[in-house]
Symmetry: C2
């Protein structure tokens, strides 16, 4: 690697992905002469409305939905808030109990906590050491007054893909509305709302090379939802506010490209991710893989490095031009151990050493070489400074996966 010209390696695609040039190209007219407000009845409005309709078709196609079931929002977080609060409030006469998994994104978990303040009860079903929810745990958690179950399609921190179709069989049998947060999966792996059997599904454009500031929520026709944002009649009266036309157009284009190139994208990032999953623990002592080994997001290479803080690894990698995350993007400033890893039963001191490399379609083998070369010396240096490490050298034991 001595003659390498690599200086910047972005391996934080779970936090956000770069926008594809084709997506920006599709958006640009709507920053230009096609700037109209879709609610207006004149030609400028018509053109903007037609663009939104086309994007709605593209997003619907990506997830096997009907276009009229798609609502555009301002983020995956808004989609999850709208789903959790909107679906629960719409059914509160039936009951006030909701179920989530323990490893949901905070936009789901904290929305559920808000429901608790509004008089709802919340059950968090556990996960196993690989981060997998057991559908039977969901079954046991459902009560007569349960009105909503929410389990994410995949966890972006550890990459584990959940058995959503199996959970949906339980919720359908019990007659309970089932939302899945598919922010980590929609546009990345095949997602079909009918095959999954869910009632509601959220996604975000910036997770698959589309723009920030736009998300979508799919809700099965006939399922009631109380809006979060009141005002005008946009999005069928379920999400008021002037539509972010360029953002929506970008989300649509990104969805179209994701559907078209999904297979080759998955192959590409899987290959690079597997290199990280295999080569890093082979080179770095006491660096273990977290999450499920098989049912795993294509780009996700998540680890815990024992006896050092993930934050320190992040900082050292950054000084070499490499971008990664410790914990999730939304909490990385909080310097707390990930609730996901703790729910998987990892001890606190191991969870603090979490580090996530998330591979994207723009990454290359040369970049992976660069990262694999950089890691051992970084970890060595940090361990020299760590009081925990000298303790470890006296009590060493083996194991390459955190679940072992």
């Amino acid at each position: 690697m001595g003659d390498s010209t690599i200086t910047k390696v972005y391996l934080d695609n779970a936090a956000t992905t770069p926008l594809l040039p084709e997506v920006l190209e599709a958006m640009l007219p709507y920053f230009g002469e096609a700037f109209g407000n879709p609610s207006c009845l004149h030609d400028w409005g018509d053109r903007a409305r037609e663009a939104i309709d086309a994007a709605r078709d593209q997003v619907a196609q990506l997830i096997g939905a009907a276009p009229e079931e798609i609502m555009f929002t301002g983020s995956g977080t808004e989609s999850n808030n709208l789903a959790i609060k909107g679906l629960a409030l719409a059914q509160q006469n039936k009951g006030k109990h909701v179920v989530t998994s323990a490893i949901e994104h905070f936009s789901v978990l904290h929305s559920a906590r808000t429901l608790e303040k509004w008089g709802f009860e919340l059950t968090e079903v556990p996960v196993d050491r690989y981060g997998v929810v057991d559908p039977e745990d969901v079954r046991r958690s459902i009560r007569k007054d349960t009105v909503l179950v929410s389990v994410m399609h995949a966890n972006s921190e550890v990459g584990t893909i959940e058995p959503i179709a199996e959970i949906a069989r339980v919720t359908r049998e019990k007659g309970v509305v089932f939302h899945t947060d598919a922010v980590a999966t929609a546009g990345t792996i095949p997602v079909d709302v009918r095959e999954l059997g869910v009632d509601s599904l959220s996604l975000a454009g910036n997770q698959f090379y589309g723009p920030k500031g736009v998300g979508a929520l799919w809700v099965r026709k006939g399922v009631r939802l109380i809006p979060l944002l009141d005002g005008g009649v946009q999005e069928g009266g379920r999400r008021a506010g002037t539509e972010n036309v360029p953002g929506i157009v970008g989300l649509g284009k990104a969805a179209e490209l994701a559907a078209r190139h999904m297979v080759t994208r998955i192959e590409h990032v899987n290959h690079l991710r597997d290199r990280l999953l295999i080569e890093l623990p082979a080179r770095v002592e006491r660096m273990v893989v977290t999450g499920h080994t098989e049912h795993r997001l294509p780009g996700n290479a998540s680890f815990c490095v024992e006896f050092i803080e993930g934050e320190s690894v992040l900082m050292m990698l950054n000084s070499r031009g490499i971008a990664v995350t410790s914990g999730s993007a939304c909490t990385s400033k909080a310097l707390k151990a990930s609730h996901v890893l703790l729910a998987m039963g990892l001890p606190h001191e191991l969870a603090q050493g979490s580090i996530l490399f998330s591979v994207g379609i723009a990454n290359t083998d040369e970049e992976i070489d660069y990262v694999v070369d950089a890691m051992p010396s970084i970890v060595d240096r940090l361990r020299q400074m760590s009081p925990l490490y000298s303790k470890f050298t006296r009590t060493s034991k083996g194991g390459k996966h955190a679940g072992l």
Copy 2:
């Protein structure tokens, strides 16, 4: 006008304004190599975070606020929802009564209606025939359990600017939190939160040549607010979700340009607007100005045309390439008479003939010529078809302002 080459005239700047090329220019890097997630701790995150901080400064400067008091949202509608619901819920232990004016935007009125469903009581203070709220009416409406007053800075349908500073003197005296919806004014006329004396103020980027999909809410330091969107710790924990970095950068740039060019912009649109306000009623029989003649938004030329539907005028103007609105953008598809005009005491049949020309900085004298030339024949043709008109010809009376 025989040799005019004008074929398209956009006079619907109240619905949304075209994006300035300089604003798009400022946004483009954040659709490109500076695509990072501001919550991330590496260089990509740093660059995005710095951009947001700079935009926060720009928006703060526009309205005389401290940067840390500015929250970015997804729209003016979201800002109003967050203010009305968030400020009321934060104080519900103190009381459950809120006050709005009768002519608020639906994002305020419908949020207040949602509060009613949550057990709050709502008082809507009336307006006079010019759409002006009397501060003494606000005083009379405030009770011991009043926790929030919301009166808009200006009404975009009829252009009337409200006596916000006077109302704020009342609310401060009474110790009640005061929100103002400044979506129609911020970036258009001078807005200074300290001079206005309010506690909370909302604005939207697409109202002053910035992008759609981004708004802001200013809340005075120390005033409590319950978030609408739960999740990560973005925006000081008060608005979760990955930030729309390019949108926020665009809003900041638009704010900077608005502050710098405000005086010349106002002169330009005032001149063109005054031409419409004077020349149209001079040419078109029974076409009356609505809203306040003096305390009026620069670009607003709103009318009611008697004996015909505003929608029909809109359609006919559109066929000549002219974009206008009848009623507000968010309700124009609803074909109902504007709640604003009805609250001003206009009879239903007159309110149905509402038509709004909203002038922007890109409009020209030649365009106004074109519109002034087009209107009389359009109205004539429509009146030929109207059964109401033949009745009118038997009962004609004078008057050039709807308030007369």
